[in-house]
């Protein structure tokens, strides 16, 4: 199945068949990371730039390893070292970097739409590594990959997403992706962080975790950021914990073989109790591991062998 996209900007407009192509391709990449020489030459000579305007360790490193395992050259460009702080516009920054003959730009930015904006004027492939509260497509792909690995399917699964849905790009991309795949999605969180209008995306909104967790196959906990509390979106972390934390007692109401996911970094004891995070039910480290294979698949499908040079 040909994968005919120049960029990966989000899940919303990615057809189901292409999502499946990425997941299937990622299956083949898992094995490479288990080899002694964890490297294949397919992207040799390609230059990839990690362009992160927001702090990130996990996603940036995951992309970096994925690129390196495909033999691409990758450099990291972080905001604090950039001219952006000296007043350079985003467009100038990107054009300057691109003039170093990059083949792909991996973008993280706190403003929604930035990868889309960059794709309108640059020549390289653009991969969205998180744009504000908008999308984080590779996270949703690796989440789906992990769920499929554990549950052997996505269709018909009951997925529960808990926490700050409003500000979460992970939640959005997962909602788009998993609903395309036929999963049944419910979200739980404080009302200010889970506006009821989310129902228009075909998901259920609930404010009672004990009720919503019943029969769930997958429980995805989101990180709660303490600065939200300063804006009165919830009164205190203590109260948040009481109502929305995943505890062993609550977890027992889910399906017997339910799994726990978290995009990280986790606040132990806040959104999830420490013993659950470390339990066999948690696939949090699997998510990180699978992230590399999924990102390798994305890089391969976008950059590998798609350049159609004129041969005659």
């Amino acid at each position: 199945m040909p994968f005919d996209h120049k960029h990966l900007l989000g899940i919303e407009f990615l057809p189901k068949k292409d999502i499946l192509t990425i997941l299937d391709t990622a299956e083949s990449f898992v094995e490479i990371s288990t080899r002694e020489v964890k490297k294949v030459p397919i992207l040799r000579g390609k230059t990839i730039i990690n362009l992160f305007f927001e702090p990130s360790t996990r996603t940036r490193s995951s992309f970096e390893l994925a690129a390196k395992r495909l033999s691409a050259d990758i450099i990291n460009f972080n905001r604090q070292f950039s001219s952006v702080v000296k007043g350079e516009t985003l467009k100038d920054t990107v054009l300057n970097l691109e003039s170093m003959q990059s083949d792909a730009l991996i973008i993280r930015h706190n403003c929604p739409g930035v990868p889309h904006y960059i794709s309108t004027f640059c020549r390289s492939h653009v991969i969205n590594a998180g744009d504000g509260a908008h999308e984080h497509p590779t996270q949703a792909l690796l989440d789906a990959f992990t769920i499929r690995q554990q549950k052997k399917k996505l269709e018909g699964l009951k997925i529960l997403i808990v926490g700050d849905i409003l500000h979460s790009r992970v939640a959005r991309s997962n909602i788009f992706l998993l609903s395309k795949m036929g999963a049944e999605i419910a979200c739980v969180g404080p009302p200010a962080l889970l506006p009821e209008e989310f129902k228009e995306f075909g998901i259920a909104c609930d404010y009672d975790l004990d009720r919503a967790i019943q029969g769930a196959d997958v429980i995805m906990m989101l990180r709660i950021q303490s600065e939200r509390q300063q804006k009165n979106l919830f009164p205190s972390l203590r109260e948040y914990k009481d109502i929305f934390s995943l505890t062993p007692k609550r977890f027992r109401r889910a399906k017997r073989n339910a799994i726990i996911m978290h995009p990280g970094p986790i606040n132990r004891g806040v959104e999830i109790s420490a013993d659950l995070a470390d339990s066999a039910k948690s696939v949090i480290l699997r998510q990180v591991e699978n992230g590399i294979a999924v990102r390798m698949a994305v890089l391969y499908l976008l950059l590998g062998g798609k350049e159609r040079e004129t041969t005659d």
Binding site: N110, V114, Y117, A133, H167, E197
Partner: protein, 424 residues
């Protein structure tokens, strides 16, 4: 300098005239209106199959001079206005320096005299520096030539300050134009709060942010009996409040911009910074309510909220882009195509809303009408003229229009200000 306009369909809402008439202009005034006037040597304009209307008035434009001449100047803004069919435009005081003193008002007026091709009507600040704290010397500003007062761009958040300003404005019988926005609610919002903002994860401005200040202004208008004009009304809730107010004993008037009528928040899916405007583009239901309100006669006037920004300023990520849409050259074709030619608004009502009524709100006694002795400000329209909006041909210094490429039917073909043809 005499000018004779022959065979035009003259529509003057003030005198309920809609017939084919000749108009003679002499020394900037209309001197004769009759079915047939002989030319004898005067310059003649053949207006057959064209509509001759009293000059259009835009109560709400940002001309950026003094201080931000890279975006627009009084001269370029007036050229854009003339091309757009406007003979008079009121300019908001959020310049640098702010128009909160006689010196700035006089500067604008003298610059306009030197360089503008249409009438430039300065609106002065309600509070010093637009800070919402102390009210300006309104009488002095009025004497210098300010025709209304506004802190546009900023709401007057402190209700007591608003009340004091309204009380004082009664002394001068001038309107206070309020930009209704509760900044605590809108916070760092970029677009309308709704399904699209949720989907895109963009920080949002709720409808309540506008509604709360509209409600407050209505209550204060009632209490003070002052003239309040609501700028750029954009949500259904505010329309409902306006209807309530108009059934009470208040002097409330309101305007709507073309972009709030013909675009919705859903368009932001393109992340186009030219769609970033405050108040934000609203939902489809809001747009329907605005159109219904126009049809039912609750809305007084259209205003462009012409807000030019340079291409560089808009060629950034959405968060960084300034709010505002360039409107002078697109407003009339949009309104003619989408409202008049689609039979939502009769032509004479449209002309009343864009000329007669704003003249009345601003207290312009010799404008907004076609009658002997009135200023010879005329806008001539061709209802069947097809235009394609092309920002590269704007006379405005800026290009920030989301309507680029739109095909529209109906446009101004000639603009006459004080008896002089300033655009054709």
């Amino acid at each position: 300098m005499r000018l004779l306009i022959k065979n035009g369909r003259v529509i003057d809402p003030a005198s309920h005239v809609d017939e084919t008439l000749d108009i003679l202009i002499d020394r900037g005034k209309i001197t004769e209106i009759k079915p047939k006037i002989e030319g004898d040597g005067t310059k003649i304009i053949d207006a057959s199959r064209l509509v001759v209307a009293p000059g259009f008035i835009d109560m709400h434009a940002h001309l950026r001079e003094p201080g931000q001449e890279e975006k627009e100047t009084i001269k370029t803004g007036s050229l854009a206005a003339a091309k757009g069919g406007f003979t008079s435009i009121a300019c908001m005081p959020n310049t640098a320096p702010v128009n909160d003193s006689r010196g700035v008002t006089e500067l604008i007026i003298s610059e306009a005299k030197r360089n503008a091709v249409v009438n430039i009507l300065p609106i002065a600040a309600v509070t010093r520096g637009l800070r919402g704290e102390e009210i300006t010397d309104m009488a002095d500003l009025r004497d210098a030539g300010a025709i209304a007062f506004s802190d546009d761009g900023h709401p007057i958040e402190n209700s007591l300050v608003m009340r004091r300003a309204l009380e004082y404005s009664r002394l001068l019988d001038v309107p206070i134009i309020d930009h209704c926005e509760d900044r605590n609610l809108s916070a760092e919002g970029i677009m309308h709060e709704g399904k699209t903002s949720l989907k895109l994860g963009i920080k949002a401005i709720p409808a309540s942010s506008e509604e709360i200040l509209v409600a407050r202004d209505i209550i204060l208008a009632k209490e003070t009996r002052a003239k309040v004009h609501i700028a750029h009304l954009s949500v259904k809730g505010a329309v409902d409040l306006l209807k309530f107010a108009k059934q009470q004993d208040t002097k409330i008037t309101a305007e709507i911009t073309p972009h709030h009528l013909f675009l919705t928040d859903a368009s932001l899916e393109s992340f186009d910074t030219n769609l970033k405007v405050n108040p934000p583009l609203r939902s489809e239901q809001d747009v329907e309510a605005l159109i219904d309100a126009i049809r039912e006669g609750w809305i007084d006037t259209f205003a462009t909220d012409h807000a030019p920004h340079t291409p560089d300023e808009k060629d950034v990520e959405l968060d960084k882009a300034p709010f505002g849409i360039n409107g002078l050259e697109t407003a009339v074709p949009l309104l003619l195509d989408k409202l008049v030619n689609k039979n939502i608004l009769p032509l004479d009502k449209f002309i009343a809303m864009i000329s007669t009524i704003p003249a009345k709100i601003l207290g312009l006694k010799n404008k907004g009408k076609i009658s002997v002795g009135a200023d010879a400000d005329l806008t001539i329209l061709k209802l069947q003229k097809e235009v394609i909006i092309d920002t590269s041909r704007f006379l405005s210094k800026s290009r920030n229009s989301p309507f680029h490429g739109w095909k529209l039917k109906g446009a101004p073909v000639m603009t006459i200000v004080g008896g002089k043809i300033v655009y054709s």
